[in-house]
């Protein structure tokens, strides 16, 4: 129980500044659950959409790049899928986190909870897509003769780093979006640019050498590259790549949180 309630009656309690006290992890869980529930309520296909969407993309891209532009890449659908899964997660989680404070303003406008919990919770709610698309990856993999190996155990680490990176970006853009409402369109545009600049429907090997270093600075490209090494080539991701990813993710999270904290005091007058 809350310590403030267990005080014996008649004893003057110590006076403190107003704030929130309670079960933070349970609250975060409830925020994740809320986001997940309202997204799929009133839908007849529900979570199936997160399978349908990549399937459409795979069929479309496979048709174009094996029939229209002829490419020599083998099991092309698997190449697309291993690129599409990290990208989709990144794009969707980041854009929903960006608008999360506005969409959920009633949760923290009257109750002094930590507002950070909202973008963080919304990013976590997107893990469900990752799980569903992982199932799709396994099924498509079986069709094309790519079976899960022990190397797949690298994936949780890679996706964990991606999660951290998105949380940082999401915290920063969510806070900025409260103050300047055009941020969501900036995020959407960046996501569109990333779709082409991340090796999704082409492989990293096709990228001209002089751009390769530049590509690795993009955390989503680095993730796609690492995921392909693990899933398609049964190799562990190179150490330097892991260090770069870790560094980018941690820096993103810390920077995002500090931007958020700086803007936090202005939320009240902007909502």
């Amino acid at each position: 129980m809350d310590p403030s309630n267990s005080q014996p009656p008649g004893v003057q309690p110590t006076l403190t500044s107003p704030g929130w006290s309670g079960d933070t992890s349970f609250l975060l869980y409830q925020i994740v659950l809320k986001d997940f529930r309202i997204r799929y309520r009133n839908m007849s296909l529900g979570i199936f959409w997160s399978v349908l969407n990549p399937l459409v993309m795979i069929v479309l891209l496979t048709f174009i790049f094996t029939q229209v532009f002829v490419s020599k890449t083998s099991n092309y659908p698997m190449v697309i899928l291993t690129g599409l899964i990290p990208y989709n997660f990144f794009a969707l989680a980041w854009s929903t986190a960006t608008t999360s404070l506005i969409d959920n303003s009633s949760l923290f406008k009257r109750i002094p909870i930590r507002p950070e919990l909202i973008p963080i919770g919304v990013v976590l709610a997107n893990i469900m897509h990752l799980v569903v698309q992982l199932a799709l990856l396994i099924v498509i993999g079986l069709i094309y003769g790519v079976y899960p190996t022990w190397y797949w155990l690298w994936l949780p680490l890679l996706w964990g780093l991606e999660l951290l990176c998105i949380m940082g970006l999401g915290l920063a853009t969510a806070a900025l979006h409260v103050v300047v409402r055009d941020i969501r369109y900036v995020v959407e545009s960046i996501n569109t640019v990333l779709f082409w600049l991340v090796p999704i429907f082409y492989t990293f090997a096709m990228v001209p050498d002089r751009f390769k270093e530049l590509y690795l600075f993009n955390p989503v490209s680095a993730l796609v590259l690492a995921s392909r090494l693990v899933i398609l080539e049964h190799r562990h991701p190179p150490e330097t790549l892991l260090w770069k990813l870790t560094l980018v993710s941690v820096v993103s999270f810390v920077a995002g949180l500090s931007v958020f904290r700086r803007l936090q005091s202005r939320f009240y007058s902007y909502l």
């Binding site: 003057q12 006076l15 929130w20 079960d23 309202i38 009633s106 009257r110 109750i111 902007y270």
Partner: protein
């Protein structure tokens, strides 16, 4: 010696009226037309008072007097520019009807989320679920989506959770008017019982009728300043006399 549960000192909150959500275009325009807009105004101007356990304090004032701003500072969602607020425990607040409620979630799901927002743990919610449901009298409606609820039913749900938080300080922002008379009566009785148990009640309203039933003390705010702080009937009478004056816009109640 009464037990002090809230100590408010010299509270000042300043709002920038032009600090609205601006589009980039407006922002750029503002850069070039600097100084055109008005300055800031004080939503709360050096407000001080102490409140003890068992007291029921009505916050009176016309629209824009600073009542809601005061509650926002007291709950901790708004940081004051100057002065301090100290509280002797957590706050159970019912500030806006259905703050945090989502129309697509069922009553039960909203109840759990709202209770978690107010700080209850999973265990505490499970323990209190039956008494919350019983107090709300919602019965089978608890598993209906909230969008099918009437305003009165939403109030029942919100109020039932807020009084179950077990907070020593309870703040209510004139929401009781929505429910039907029977439920409003039940709420008032519950609030009075909580007061006699030694909680502090802060009740924001602009209706003075029957107020002495709920509160023993009243604070009258006008344009962010504390005009009068005293026994409920005395302050309510003075406030009503001021509000009845058709020329009140030109008068300063402080003088």
């Amino acid at each position: 010696m009464p037990m002090i549960l809230a100590s408010v000192e010299n509270l000042t909150v300043r709002f920038q009226p032009h600090r609205q959500t601006l589009l980039l275009r407006q922002r750029v325009r503002n850069l070039f037309s600097r100084g055109a807009g008005g300055g800031s105004f004080l939503a709360l101007d050096r407000v001080s008072f102490n409140a003890s356990a068992g007291e029921g304090i009505a916050i009176l004032g016309q629209n824009g007097a600073g009542k809601s701003t005061l509650l926002s500072v007291l709950t901790g969602v708004l940081k004051p520019d100057c002065g301090s607020v100290k509280l002797g425990g957590r706050v159970g607040a019912l500030l806006e009807l259905g703050a945090g409620f989502h129309p697509d979630l069922t009553g039960r799901e909203n109840l759990t989320l709202y209770a978690a927002l107010l700080g209850l743990s999973r265990h505490a919610i499970k323990q209190r679920f039956d008494s919350i449901l019983e107090f709300s009298e919602l019965g089978g409606f608890i598993d209906e989506p909230l969008k099918n609820y009437s305003a009165g039913m939403r109030l029942r749900l919100a109020f039932s959770v807020a009084v179950q938080v077990d907070a020593p300080i309870i703040m209510i922002d004139e929401v009781l008017a929505v429910g039907d008379t029977a439920f409003a009566h039940k709420c008032i009785e519950r609030v009075i019982r909580l007061r006699t148990e030694g909680r502090l009640l802060i009740y924001v309203t602009h209706i003075t009728e029957g107020l002495d039933h709920i509160c023993n003390r009243a604070i009258w705010l006008h344009c962010g300043r504390l005009i009068q702080d005293g026994p409920v009937n005395e302050v309510a009478t003075a406030y009503q006399a001021f509000m009845a004056d058709p020329d009140r816009r030109f008068r300063d109640p402080a003088s």
